[in-house]
Amino acid sequence: MENTGLLMNYLLVGTCLFGLGVVGFLARRNLIVMFLSVELMLQGVIVNFAGWDRYHGQATGQVFVLFIVGVTAAEAAVALALILTLVRAREGLDVLRLQKVREDIILPPVPDEGEVREAETPSWPRLPRVGRRPDIPQEVLEYRPSV
């Protein structure tokens, strides 16, 4: 019974860490804090493994904890590279600026051989840019109607 009580302590802490990580990932808007929330969820899993490991009196749980740590290290390297690239391109850690990661213009699909090409779009003349560049205020640039 003593062992079961100890195991419940570990399970409860693991569950709490996982749930708090979920809340952080859903609610926060900073890229790094979101990543750290995912790490918090992994911490919950680690605590869970440790509790069961001791309960069964084996060392297998520790092996899996080591695997989690190793995979986390690889994940952190890739995530760091991705975040650095995105920050360079979007000037900031706000996840809102990453809503549209795909390219703006998607080229039309290449037609198959033998497919009848119907009603080609006429080639309009390109107009040179004239006049003063409009001064768009920052609020208009960052306005997203969906938030």
Binding site: G21, G24, L26, R29, Q62, V69
Partner: protein, 260 residues
Amino acid sequence: MIVSSVFVDNVMDAPLFVLILASIFTAGGLWWALPWGKARRRSVGWVLVAAGLAMLSAMIPSVGSLLARSLLTLMSIVAVGSAVAMITSSRPLYAALWFGMAVLGTAGMLLFNGAQFVAMAVIVVYIGAILVMFLFVLMLDDPKGTAGFNRQSWEPLTASVVGAVLIALTTVTWLRHAATANGWSLAKETGKAIPDVVITRTVDLGNQLFLHYGVAVQALAIVLLLGLLGAAVIIAHPLEPLLDFKSRAVPDETPTANES
């Protein structure tokens, strides 16, 4: 002379070592806390006396068990409390530091289980490598947390409800499973009792790791190598900025659908 020879002979003898250390702490603390006629900070002595007495009382098995359990409770509180502070702190720098504190609490819980090697690995990898790297990246944008995206969350009420429901459902699930007759019958409840403080199981860990999971360790090494390669590849091909926020200039001449 006698004390030193006893010490050298029984370094591995934990109770005697603890006894000597506790005596030294108590005597030193008392000596420092007694009034000398000079003004100085005497609270150090009281802390030392408290530590020495606690170490002495920990040699009584029941009190020692109680102390160990309260230490585990303290570690649990540190871990969960730091997690709450991390996800609610509006300054990302402090959020990262609170995450380090949560990792320390988790490592303490691992240490309580006799997993010294794993606890040290967790501290080294999480705090020493990941957290320090991300502290550097945090400096790129708004480390003080004054920007709107740090001050305002997405749907705070919904996210909190989702997290609370997840925690409650998981807890109820394993509680009900434990309450059934042979809930966790795999445990060796009738075997030898596991003591409250497990000294170490690192040898077991090494045997398991390299006798039974050798292929998995190799696979993990390959995953790490591929992760590093992937990071290098991602960094080597930077994204084009869609819109230059500083000069407000549209980057020129992207291919349009009309041109093709």
